[in-house]
């Protein structure tokens, strides 16, 4: 059975258009279900009804829909979008269509138009001159913009499951620590290889636990081998990476001697202070102050990074963007062309990035805490796979699968 929802409104009761529509559906061997009917109270009030029309084959359904269209009943998706102009900067009209991260099309002037830069929880603005539809975050909408309202004329394409047997067949399955990790990580390695071959970018979103657990050198190796095209993180990741580069400790704990170093609790503050004195991470590398670590590798290999600030930051480093809206825009800018996102040991940055990603981006979330992976999926980034693992172990295994040489 195939079906489509159609809507018809106007003076459809008095003119017998509604009974006619229902009779026509039956005559053409179809079936209907009245989902909603609102009858006008006075004779000048229009009535509206919404029907689910079904038929045994797509062909039959199309014949019925063609006939119904002539009677004024159009499938909801074939309606033109309703546009309302905004009255205020940064405020959508009250009935605005709130986007998902799935590929979306809008029907405007009888044609389906793809929505550019789709991301979840935004609005859709159509430029009447160029007929281009684009996804616009609430803060960027301008007074007078034509914003799509209601759901009529909006088509969202669900993601097709990959036909190839790859790791993303696990998509949508519950996160569990019981999964065969080695197989999953091997799948991630393959996906990274194919993303790179397809000319798409790989994004890594990292938390400071990468450094705490001793995973820093592995991430460096990924960067050097060109498996990372852009890095997102916060003040923490960069600070502890620099701390370990300058003092060999991470949050005061020696990374190679398994013990808390003496007076090392202040190392991270001294590290921040040193970088601030240099003017920034890039300057510190240029001046020869910072000679190793993840941030050093990014600067040396010209990998762009976005460090977004948060309220608990120490310092922060001069490279940290403390205005969250500016940071979001900077992240958006770097997301163009990203085909795979690897989120390691970061709750806030992973969710923030997940909100900006299209559903077509393969997303891998690695965390020791299964709740983080679930949280990401619950907030709408359902295209990802979750791996419950310690950051360093994951990165070590990944480097091994990617056959990256030890330095």
């Amino acid at each position: 059975m195939v079906s489509e929802i159609v809507e018809v409104s106007g003076h459809i009761i008095d003119s017998l258009i509604l009974p006619k529509i229902l009779d026509e559906i039956i005559d053409l061997d179809g079936n209907f279900e009245i989902l909603e009917i609102a009858i006008g109270k006075r004779k000048t009030d229009p009535s509206t009804t919404r029907l689910r029309v079904s038929a045994t084959s797509e062909q039959k359904l199309q014949v019925i829909l063609k006939r119904l269209a002539r009677l004024g009943a159009t499938p909801l998706t074939l309606r033109e979008v309703e546009l309302v102009r905004t009255r205020q900067d940064g405020v959508f009209p009250s009935q605005f269509y709130s986007t998902t991260n799935l590929p979306t099309f809008v029907r405007y002037q009888e044609r389906w138009r793809p929505v550019q830069n789709i991301e979840m929880d935004c609005g859709i603005v159509i430029d009447p001159h160029t007929s281009r539809a684009s996804c616009v975050p609430m803060v960027h909408v301008k007074k007078g913009d034509h914003v799509v309202c209601g759901t009529a004329g909006v088509r969202v394409t669900p993601l097709e499951r990959s036909r190839n047997k790859d790791v993303f067949q696990f998509m949508g399955s519950a996160v569990s620590s019981e999964k065969p990790k080695a197989l999953l990580i091997e799948g991630v390695a393959k996906a990274m290889g194919s993303t790179r071959r397809a000319g798409q970018k790989i994004l890594v979103v990292g938390g400071p636990a990468i450094v705490h657990t001793g995973g820093g050198p592995y991430l460096e190796r990924l960067i050097e081998a060109k498996y990372v095209d852009v890095l997102f993180g916060g003040n923490g990741l960069a600070t502890h990476d620099i701390e370990s580069a300058l003092y060999g400790t991470s949050l005061g704990t020696s990374l190679d001697r398994k013990a808390a170093a003496r007076d090392a609790h202040e190392h991270h503050m001294r590290a921040i202070n040193t970088i601030r004195a240099c003017g920034g991470i890039r300057q510190a590398v240029r001046q020869g102050v910072l000679t190793k670590g993840i941030m050093h590798a990014c600067v040396r290999h010209r990998i762009p990074f976005v460090l977004a600030g948060s309220i608990r930051d120490d310092g922060p480093l001069p490279d940290v963007i403390t205005d969250v809206m500016t940071a979001q825009d900077e992240m958006r800018h770097h997301l163009k062309g990203v085909g795979l996102a690897l989120m390691i040991a970061s709750t806030l940055h992973a969710i923030a990035t997940g909100n900006l990603l299209r559903a077509t981006v393969k997303t891998i979330c690695v965390d020791i805490n299964p709740a983080v992976v679930t949280k990401l999926a619950d907030r709408g980034t359902f295209q990802g796979i979750g791996i419950v693992s310690d950051a360093a172990s994951f990165l070590r295994e990944l480097c091994h699968d990617l056959k990256l040489p030890r330095r």
């Binding site: 003076h11 003119s15 017998l16 258009i17 009974p19 004024g72």
Partner: protein, 281 residues
């Protein structure tokens, strides 16, 4: 809200009635967009001019109705059928969106004419085809709207939002009666002339339910375009050759018949009503 009747009461015709016509200087059958039009069956220009003049004289001299004239435009032969310009409601003009590209050139001419005379011009979104008074006729305060061949059913909801009136869409099922005004003619607030063959059973039922006194006409009368009659108060102007039973029906209701020869305009699928647009003075 646009109301045809400022005092809320239906009145037909309006005391301030005026008509819009266009001389057939460039009238010809240049294309075929309905079953009546055949480019091989051409219009005889001088005869057409004479027939049009007879209608004009009848309206202005005998019936003393003011008639405004639209300047004919070369290359727009159907401009003579001014009923398709749009729908006038008070001082608002709801402009036609012609289905056929051959006639779309007329839209701007009509729009300019009414804009210059201080009317508020309402244009419908391009995706709605709507052919004005050709497909939209008032019976009392209900607007009957013919759809399928020229006008789209979907437009009725849009119009009802503008007019705040009951609008009853009727599907036309015979290609020869491609506009509502070729098969449905309101005589006054309660009676209409109609040709049942142009509608399906849903249309019959809707008409019979909502029109107190529907007067059916025979196929022969319908094919002579008697439903394309122009009604001015108690005067009914139509193409000659009306059958005896129909004449009787009309006279019994107190209407005076004026029969004219409009054969040249039948060649393009139009008659008396198509040549005239109702407007307010």
């Amino acid at each position: 809200m646009i109301s045809n009747y400022p005092d809320g009461k239906p009145a037909m015709p309006l005391p301030s009635l005026a008509l819009l016509m266009c001389r057939p200087s460039h009238y010809t059958v240049a294309y075929e967009i309905n079953p009546w039009m055949k480019v091989t069956r051409q219009v005889h220009q001088p005869v057409a001019a004479r027939q049009w003049q007879a209608l004009y004289d009848l309206l202005t001299r005998s019936l003393r109705v003011p008639v405004r004239l639209l300047r004919p435009v070369k290359g727009l032969p159907d401009l003579v059928f001014t009923a398709n310009a749009g729908l006038l409601v008070g001082k608002a003009f709801i402009r036609t969106n012609f289905r056929h590209p051959e006639r779309q050139g007329e839209e701007v001419i009509f729009e300019r004419y009414f804009r210059r005379r201080g009317y508020r011009v309402v244009t419908l979104p391009r995706q709605f085809n709507f052919e004005g008074e050709g497909d939209a006729l008032w019976v009392g305060d209900t607007l009957f709207l013919g759809f399928r061949f020229r006008t789209d059913a979907t437009v009725h909801e849009h119009l009802s939002k503008i007019l705040h009136r009951r609008i009853l869409p009727l599907e036309l099922v015979d290609k020869r009666f491609y506009h509502l005004d070729t098969c449905f003619c309101p005589l006054d607030a309660t009676s209409v002339l109609w040709y049942p063959g142009a509608f399906d059973r849903y249309g019959w039922k809707a008409i019979e339910t909502h029109v107190p006194d529907p007067v059916p006409v025979s196929t022969a009368d319908a094919l002579r375009f008697c439903c394309n009659a122009l009604v001015i108060d108690r005067a009914v102007i139509l193409h000659g050759g009306v059958s005896k039973p129909l004449r009787k029906e009309l006279e019994r209701r107190g209407f005076d018949l004026y029969e004219l020869d409009l054969s040249e305009f039948l060649k393009a699928g139009g008659s008396a009503k198509c040549l005239v647009l109702r407007m307010t003075r």
